[in-house]
Symmetry: D4
Subunit: 253 residues, 8 copies
């Protein structure tokens, strides 16, 4: 944004832009206003990724409108998260996105297909149990959408330590590990102790009773005695996949 | 208590006791009233152990009075928990308990010495870190006071899994494991997955920030995905040692 | 696991296994990977019991697949918990488990029938009210599945103390007591004061208002002033039955 | 207050008061303004008791000023609660209240002595343990200050049920029972089930770990499955004694 | 219960009862065991009221069985609380309780009609808003079921103080006030400051956002700066009506 | 109210009113009692606005009754909040309010149309995302109902700061800003730092996981490091619009 | 800030500023960087008030440095909040602020004296009890520092309603009311119902037990059923005074 | 660890190691047992960094013993965190670490000096206010200890957005941003929206009232609507610095 401001100022200096035009540019350029939402077409340039539509609380119509404007603006790939099956079906029918595919477990849709791998190495997505799969797939598919190679290690919870340990090679070769677990959330600490790379922990709302919808796992992960562990919101597979991608692309700027 | 009631009723039937005497016995026998406290001399018979004095919130004088009445009533051994050094010193000076010893880490005093081992096997007391020692020693010494052989495994937290695993033999041979940890409390789940015996988990108030004085470890332990784990109150080393002793003496009734 | 490692190392030493075969064995042996889940066929040997399937969040198809692999691997008895009636019906129809029975109150299925009693004595399962029955039956049937004799004492809440006291003989003869209660959870303390054996407390989510889905009972039980009480997760009848069985089989190793 | 308004209006009607005087009376009469506090001299008439000074957060000087104004206004007896020993000493020295006595356990001072008993019967003040004594004495002395006969039953916690049961006669003859307990707070339910009168439960902040400064006992008491139990704030011995007195004087209006 | 024990002991003494019969009596008399529930036929004698059936979590069949046993045992009046309309309809059809009436607002059924007033005076039931009516009617009808005259003051919330003040006469003449409010729960403090009698506060789960299902009102009421206020569980209209009745009948033993 | 009391007293003085009539007036005048609700016809005079009906928990019939009495009493405009579409439809059909309009997003109905703008300036209603619209429209329409000009700035969340900054002119010219956001609620702080006027922050229950139904945003807003920010209840668009109107009309008394 | 940007752009256009100078200005002008803190000299222009120093967590030396830079920059008046007596003394000695005065109750210092009243009317600062005075004085003195006339109504808690009502005239004539209370926080609702102006509620940490350091009052105030009430952080007297001043100066832009 | 296992197995195969020696190696090698603590000399190899001593809850003597063993084992640099000034002084005197330096703000000691920069780029450490400095310095010095170049941006809180924006170039050129803030924690979202790299958010316990010791900032950061933000424990500057270093060294394996 800084460079844009400089360019703008230079244009003002040379008379290429009037003051009013510059004012307008400073305010209006970065997004397109649809009334109910504002699309950020420059985001790809600024943040290095395609735009993502958070589907929860939006109607199929709103999503189609937003996505169509993105496509019209030249966006190659779009990721729509938190999208239930009914809305996905409606979008597929009405929007005419020929190459869109929908993953019912992860509740997300990808328009424009997956890009080639561009990261430094692999991202390991590990879960404590089978109930953590929806969150894990949201993380894994998000990472793949952002150009990463993903290794899935599911159901490797710490109460059966041999399952975890049998995957030591994958864990130790990863560039980033995403540790996904509900209940007591101990997976983050165990993987944090084994891995040599950053671990992003995702607490899940899986469980009952004193798991309190993921609070138990969240606190457990925040208190991890392993260094190198940071945490995202409960069930936030997208956030974990997104940050993992940033890390896997680190040093490439 | 049931048998006592029957005996009492039989004595009433045979005229050995008047109705009033029986009423009195039903009400008065089980304890001695000191005004500020009621001592339970029959507890040893009923619950199989010596009486314990919870020292927190009692003055040295009150503790001496209670302990002296116990000694006078024939109690062989007394355990005083949550006793700070100042009170311990005062008690040692004034009470004349020749054989009392005080452990400053565990904050407890034992009068009458430790009994011989009488349990089925060993009790493993394991901690996640060195800061958990006070709680661990409260548990270990309580267990020893109740006639158990204790194996101490300290600083075997899950972020350095090799430390835990190097003690597999002791863990797998134990009759009971006491898993003591603050922060994320993952030790309980890992030990619960490795051990073949009951695991009693003790969350500790060690930590800072989102450990919330032990709540994080408590929730983590309650949500353990390992079967065979139950939990006592935060920092309750005594409770863990007590129940571990009951379990280590199981089947001996 | 330790002995297996030794055996493995000895085979490597004598040339019975190549290094790569040993590596493989160390990692792969203990479980069978179904993709969405990993079955632990060695668990019976390691932990002394049959495998249990936690049914919540698994489809009928997934459960049938897992159970069939277990049967194929020689597992004699299988316990499926947290299984609703619809899934149970589907499993019974499709899986062809001739001897499976389903308990609608406890929401669990047993394949292979109940084993004979093998414990040291009886396990008392007591509840504060009639609404605690689902949790109580989960605990009781789990304990029976693991070879224990169970005595059920239902609706003996402390607000009607005479109901509790009329069962003193059963309580005092038990090897383990499971105290199940919602609301104020006082049953654990009262039974903990009466019994001579370990008491496992199970808070239930029964109640309304400030019971906060079982938090009130949970805190109450964690703070029990009776020694010998430990606690499992809210509504965790299975966990209580499982640990009670371990205790009832203590000293039999 | 209603009758005062009527009297006032009648005086306005008959010319005994001007409108302005009536306005003034409506606003000013009920209290005396000391700047930092407003004393309510009519409270005895309205609420049937003497004024009470809540000592916490007031200086000795402020308390003396308030109390002196009360004495000057003809108040026979004054109760000062939450008063530490240092302030009590200062008040005794400077205020010249010849007949004031201070109770260090209850942290309260009574000026003007205790009145004769005027209630319907007795108020039982029962505690679960000896650490609950400060709250219990605050309740008991408040009740005595308000003209009630008090029976103290201390250290009758439910983990030693025989202690509780041995006092059945006192409990069943009471007009009100005040049940004071920390930790799991089960005493309220047990007494609520035994007594035939209202039970006022007072949770105390006694305990550690998951007692959370009295929250455990508070929730437990609010969820009591015994009918006839209501609850006051944590450690609020005064409030319990006050309401118990109202109940013990019921039907005497 | 004490007198019964004495009588029992005297019968044993005189040979009127064998020891075994006495044992049996001590244990069995107070209730009838239906398997899923235990009915307390002596409760009327012990606690002065008819038995109440808590309908939540019981089937219509279970309730009919319990109620029928009560009627068979001579119980004149039965109160069934937390009973939804469907179950109420089923009970009315199948049980043949000719005189049963059901109140849909309060969700309760009364079998046997209301008794005449027997208390010292009136019980005021006041609510902050119209949404508190279900809880208020549960309280009011419970009180009427227990022989009390009830004055209903609905929608007198403190944000419109004149509504509250216009009912000063009723408030000041009451023997007990039940203050029912959700949201900020200030009604209890305002009524507590105006009334001369005990105030029982009932927080309701009415509200949204930071009312947290009644926690806001609960805390507000527990912290009331008015003396003479005690609190029951959120939405516990029954508990408030029950205790109010005990107080309104105080001094009548 | 003060002036009314004075007028009343003067009428009593001059004989224009008897004492009883004055008593009656003091109590009865300010509202009309419908049994289930009390309407406050004088509120417009006292508080400067029309009466508002909080629709949640009221039946369509109750709302029609209340609104009809208001219309009959001369109320020009009525606002009904928290009104779902079904009830709105019923009211429109049955009540015959020709000019009523219903907003489905804001869940509110306005009878009598919007008044002309009467405030000092504009009220900016800003939201962090598109999911906050229902709360935002409740605030905006409430403000318009009370005679204010509203500027809507939707989807200007702080993670895309350029969107916020492009609206600096509107923000800096506002008389009041209403900042509405869920999740992390940072919008309030950012707007609080930019605006020169009071900012009313409304946390919304939008979000998932650790947003805890709006608690995260609520705490964030309460802790705003920007001066001039105050907060209303979670999702309380009405409250924000109401107070904003008071502020926008300040100095006009 | 908008106008400054325009001016800047115009200067660039006319050659009055180079692009680099403009860049510099855009970034550097608004504050002065002291290393450990950044002073905002333009704030007075932007937000209409003098700069305030939040004293908590700053050393006397740091505060003197900041304040001296402000004075040097021409700041007429400085308010230092959360300043304990020791630091205040040090500042007075070392800084040479001849006209500084320190208020020990409010824990704040004013340098440069109080300005004349410039608001639309009066700000009423009301408290529930005498313990709320420190917060009240912080609010009152902050308001006076910002040019407002303040009316103090202390100890007018709702449990003694006549105290509140006797101040109706002041309350009804206010431009803003600040309602300060701990414990149950009902004062905000009562004043909100009586006043015709915005009410800013300040919960205080006064109280014990279930007041939870101000949470009870905070929730109570957020849930106020009176319209026109908004809330600031617990004990945030400054924030309330600041916003009250903004409101009292509303319409004066 | 995997490679070590392979090497070990190969040595067993070739007879270079006996089975018992291999068993020993598998268990004993990775750490040195000091009794109260276990030092992990291989950690540098496994995790790429020097060992860190968490000083809280350890005596000066314990720390010296651990550090001396590390030095003896060839460790070049040691970081001791959470070390108060008194212990630091004692260590400096007794341990003879010539080159140790202690930072009183960050409460940490570095033995062996700082290494040269080895990361991909810079780590920005930004704080919301000056009170966050201790946490910020812990993060910054930890990062420097691990070979990173750090840019400090202190006191750039979002309520003065121009301060944040004036540092856009540093923020946009960073490889990692550490966003440290208490109170409302909005800094993480704002920086997350501006930066193109991973943002690690650290909530601090700075604040009062509803900041609840950092909970407000923690929740705010977990709910950040900016992608690419993850969170560590409250006040965990070390953890943030550690993970930032891992990320800044990413792609260098």
């Amino acid at each position: 944004m800084n460079h844009e401001i400089r360019t703008l100022l230079e244009q003002v200096q040379t008379g290429g832009l009037t003051v009013d035009e510059a004012m307008l540019a400073l305010k209006m350029e970065p997004y397109e206003d649809l009334g109910f939402a504002k699309i950020d077409h420059h985001r790809k340039i600024r943040n290095g990724v395609g735009e993502v539509i958070y589907g929860a609380g939006k109607t199929a119509e709103q999503i189609i409108t937003i996505a169509s404007h993105m496509v019209a603006a030249g966006q190659e790939r779009i990721l729509i998260t938190r999208l239930d099956e009914t809305k996905a079906e409606a979008i597929r029918k009405q929007a005419g996105f020929a190459d869109a595919f929908y993953d019912a477990t992860a509740q997300l849709m990808v328009v424009g297909g997956m890009p080639p791998h561009s990261g430094n190495g692999t991202i390991v997505v590990a879960t404590g149990g089978t109930s953590d799969l929806p969150v894990a797939e949201e993380a894994a598919l998000t990472a793949e959408f952002l150009g990463n190679q993903v290794v899935r290690l599911y159901d490797v919870g710490v109460a059966g330590l041999h399952r975890t340990l049998s995957h030591l090679p994958e864990i130790m070769e990863a560039e980033v590990v995403i540790a996904i677990a509900g209940m007591e959330g101990a997976l983050a600490s165990v993987l944090g102790g084994l891995a040599e790379c950053p671990v992003i922990a995702v607490p899940t709302s899986v469980g009952y009773g004193a798991s309190f919808g993921g609070i138990s796992a969240l606190l457990s992960m925040l208190n991890s005695c392993a260094s190198g562990v940071s945490v995202v919101n409960i069930d936030n597979g997208f956030g974990a996949g997104y940050q993992a991608s940033l890390i896997n692309h680190a040093g490439k700027k």
